[in-house]
């Protein structure tokens, strides 16, 4: 009888070990002559760069050139910068300019470069109950949403999009509160899903919206084109001074890679085929 139990355990052990032996055959990492950097780095980034698929193209190109492995953690910009402060991320790719400036001023980051931009959009149901469709003034549009008590979903998660939203409310001199103002506390994709389900308005970055629209969205762009809705992305190499284990060389190489030459060309080309326009505009692209 005891044999049976041990046989089960033995069987499970064998299965496990066979699986783990297989797992040790790693994905091939190509090699090439370029300045030597650490063999891996952790990139904390906003979800829009991953969810849009940009990083699936950008990261392999960088890995190939520098023969280093990039571990991408997609979270909100706020959490990404918090990971930088804790020393858990070596490089950041975020879109929260004011918070980035503060991050640099406090000495958490060593190098920061502008990478690309697109725009934020105010999206909402087709019926447009608040009647803001076609407005080009984001401040006036949000004010009208508040005046008409139209449902609006806030990310409320300290992401780049959330801090942009708060800055618009501030400009509108409105403190959003009430049953129409819904704080989801979730990522952009989840928030868009929620907006679809309950026919609400929300503020979204262009890249996530376009890549989401193809799949499941009945939302429409109601406000765009205000220069307040400008959405710049920056790359930061976290300073090695506070945590000597930071893989600074690799992080710096990554920041340079995406803000120059090949990285910029990849960003420029990304999304044209699938969405008819590029999802991000590189700041430093020369054909």
């Amino acid at each position: 009888m005891n044999n049976k139990l041990s046989r089960v355990i033995l069987l499970l052990l064998i299965v496990l070990s066979v699986i783990s032996i297989n797992a040790c055959t790693k994905n091939p990492s190509p090699s090439k002559e370029t300045p030597a950097v650490e063999e891996s780095l952790v990139l904390a980034t906003t979800t829009s760069t991953q969810d849009s698929g940009l990083l699936d193209i950008l990261i392999p190109a960088f890995e190939k050139e520098y023969n280093t492995e990039v571990k991408v953690i997609a979270v909100g910009s706020g959490q990404a910068m918090e990971m930088g402060k804790k020393g858990d991320a070596d490089a950041l790719l975020v879109h929260s300019p004011a918070a980035e400036d503060q991050f640099m001023a406090e000495g958490w980051g060593k190098v920061r470069k502008d990478v690309m931009y697109n725009q934020f959009l105010i999206v909402g149901p087709k019926a447009d109950p608040a009647g803001i469709s076609g407005m080009t003034d984001a401040v006036a549009a949000l004010k009208k949403l508040a005046d008409t008590n139209s449902k609006f979903i806030s990310r409320a998660d300290k992401s780049g999009t959330h801090s942009k939203e708060l800055s618009i409310w501030k400009a509108a001199e409105v403190t959003p509160a009430g049953s129409w103002y819904i704080e989801s506390g979730q990522g952009m994709g989840d928030t868009l899903m929620m907006a679809i389900e309950i026919n609400a308005y929300t503020l979204t970055d262009e890249a996530t919206f376009l890549s989401f629209k193809n799949k499941a969205s009945s939302l429409h762009v109601v406000v765009q084109g205000d220069k307040l809705l400008f959405n710049p992305y920056g790359a930061i190499a976290v300073s090695p001074e506070k945590y000597p284990n930071i893989r600074f060389k690799a992080a710096e190489a990554f920041v340079n890679f995406i803000s120059e030459g090949e990285g910029q060309a990849i960003i420029h080309a990304f999304g044209k085929k699938k969405y008819g326009k590029n999802l991000f505009t590189p700041v430093n692209y020369r054909p």
Binding site: N22, A74, N245
Partner: protein
């Protein structure tokens, strides 16, 4: 159909994900069992000072939210935390640690329940027949094995299905720490609902296969 296309196209990657899910949750369950089986047996059989308190703690920890377990492990192994220089964050190893923390109380609690009831009689009986204490323990474990296996399977199910802890400490890194549950979250977030469902079905099928494997080798579960 579109979804079959995607599955075939990403076959290799999905296999990597499935493999990692099994390794992480399987190893975590194994470690948890190694801790929980002796611990649960002793708590179940022995009467000692503080036993009720320990039991209460164990049962409280059975309700430990995965994301809280993840956060605690994250803070300990963060570069700014006490064990930061081990550089374990965002590796499969730390995912195993987090899930072990999560699963050990569950298996312990269930093993206690499996043994505490009628098995005390068997323990006394074994002792009276001249078994030493070690032998008596093993006799009890042997007699309660059906319930113990069910406890271990419950623990494995919890580990295999949880997402909060592995998402936080593993980071859902492609090819490295992405497991079935974290990919489901990611696909959903991107609006790829069909892919999310497909991955969920894969998870359930594997769960079915694992339990079949286990039950096949234990005749006690069959009624005859």
């Amino acid at each position: 159909m579109d979804i079959w296309h995607s599955i075939v196209e990403y076959k290799e990657e999905i296999l990597t994900i499935v493999r990692l899910s099994l390794i992480v949750s399987g190893t975590a369950t194994l470690f948890s069992t190694l801790i929980a089986l002796p611990l649960g047996t002793i708590i179940g059989l022995k009467d000692f000072l503080g036993r009720r308190l320990i039991l209460r703690i164990v049962y409280t920890l059975m309700a430990l939210p995965p994301v809280l377990a993840g956060l605690i492990v994250y803070l300990i192994f963060s570069r700014s935390g006490p064990l930061g220089n081990l550089e374990l964050l965002f590796t499969p190893t730390i995912m195993i640690i987090a899930q072990t923390l999560l699963v050990t109380p569950i298996i312990t609690g269930l093993v206690v329940a499996a043994i505490a009831g009628k098995e005390g009689i068997i323990y006394d009986h074994a002792l009276s027949l001249g078994a030493n204490q070690m032998q008596a323990y093993f006799t009890v474990i042997k007699e309660a094995r059906t319930n113990i296996i069910a406890s271990i399977m419950t623990g494995f199910g919890r580990a295999f299905a949880e997402v909060g802890a592995v998402m936080l400490v593993g980071g859902n890194i492609r090819y490295t720490t992405r497991v079935l549950t974290t990919s489901i979250v990611m696909e959903t977030r991107q609006g790829n609902f069909a892919m999310g469902i497909a991955l969920g079905l894969i998870l359930l099928i594997i769960s079915f296969a694992v339990s079949t494997l286990v039950l096949m080798n234990n005749d006690q579960f069959s009624k005859t």
